[in-house]
Symmetry: C2
């Protein structure tokens, strides 16, 4: 059996190689360890939808055979992807593509937690509007689009225990989220990211947030049922799919009266 095309080992240094022309790996990157090359190939398969969220990927021995490397090398590649929460290992069952369709993963990206954790939290979403508009400059920059490109702007209020708590202003690239409208959203029950996964094949994999304290404007105060100038947590999030491609900008205003934003440092 011939080796997997493009893979190369550190020790594979053909005598014809010149230092001025660094070798390239299967995915076009400059040299990296074999397990990193395997990781990049797995990432590519995930991005291309070869294995869909919730599905199992091939077993380690199968992948080792496919890439013509040892099981330990595949294992190390999968280990890293599992550490980044792109894959989920389950002993005895297999390795699965991470998905937002799971109660336990519901709060993977929502870091707001009740101050008194014993209360069972019921939640609801109310769509304020959903329009296709030309992108303002700041949003375009964050989504790596051009100013004026079509984006979907979605606004909603999330309530916990029937108390309005989060006011979201969401921006999505219009070319990716084609049919998205208030009516399609109305049919959705679960988390928005799960909806994006099944309806548009977009998997949110990582996000970065910038947090400030602000005062509620009168419009915001009305929607969140708080006093004008009440302190609110402003959370600006950029979410990324595979390959660090930005796919969502979200500006959230959180009422932190009975909730707090939870974070771990290490």
């Amino acid at each position: 059996m011939q080796p997997y095309p493009g893979l190369m080992l550190m020790s594979d240094t053909p005598s014809s190689a010149r230092a001025s022309e660094p070798r390239r790996t299967a995915t076009g990157a400059a040299y990296s360890p074999l397990y990193q090359q395997i990781k990049a190939l797995l990432l590519q398969s995930l991005d291309q939808g070869e294995w869909k969220p919730g599905e199992a990927i091939p077993s380690e021995v199968d992948l080792a055979a496919r890439f013509q490397v040892s099981q330990g090398t595949v294992r190390k590649a999968i280990d890293e992807l599992a550490a980044e929460n792109l894959l989920l290992r389950r002993q005895g069952k297999g390795t699965f593509v991470a998905t937002h369709h799971e109660a336990k993963v519901r709060f993977r990206f929502l870091r707001l937690a009740p101050d008194n954790p014993e209360a069972p939290v019921t939640s609801g979403s109310r769509i304020l509007d959903c329009r296709r508009v030309r992108s303002p400059a700041d949003i375009a920059a964050l989504l790596q689009l051009r100013t004026g490109d079509i984006v979907v702007n979605l606004r909603r209020v999330l309530s916990f225990e029937n108390v309005p708590t989060i006011l979201d202003d969401i921006w999505l690239p219009g070319t990716v989220f084609k049919g998205l409208s208030a009516s399609t959203l109305a049919r959705n029950k679960g988390p928005l990211y799960a909806f994006f996964e099944s309806e548009y094949g977009v998997s949110m994999v990582r996000a970065e947030e910038k947090i400030k304290a602000v005062s509620a404007t009168s419009e915001q105060a009305g929607l969140l049922q708080v006093d004008v100038n009440a302190p609110l947590l402003q959370v600006e999030r950029v979410s990324f799919t595979y390959g660090d491609r930005p796919m969502e900008v979200r500006r959230g205003l959180y009422v932190t009266d009975r909730f707090h934003y939870k974070n771990s440092l290490n």
Copy 2:
């Protein structure tokens, strides 16, 4: 050479073992994989100060010989400690105990970043007061002390570019931080956690934060030079040393006018 006392392998199941009496490992925990047992032993050595912050720990082969396991098993234990930022690997040099004495680690626990990152940030600390007092109930609970136990209460203002930006209210267990006073603190230049490391042998290893938006009281407004009722980010942090022992409670109020709290989700 005899095996390291207390270590046991999954396969070491003496025929006399009864299911009702689970075996114990070297550190007293119930059964766990060998590399986890090694990790616990390394943690114990770190906690006891066998290797101090900034120092190198023994090489992998030395540790493998010491514990009578393969290098790969030691490696996996060290890998986890490095992933948790307790150890730092440097190829060709060795593995080092993490320390807060380093410019690059200065912002490991401070997640406040300037909105315009190009500006070089100068910082300064002003101690408001440092007193030994009896612990209020909430602080005692977080520090796992009894209400009324002696704690050190330290208040300070941090400025960036000479603009007051953070008002900190810090609580420390009095039995650990014995000589701490405003005068000893005055001699300290660098980060507080580096000071705690060298002066009291306390290494902060992990922290949890709860964040809310609040309105400035008149006292807070005066100290931070903002308007009364200005929105502030309230950050309540509990920091832990080795073994998840809480060693500090810190209530910070951040002015997020030109700064933001930065976070990554994955």
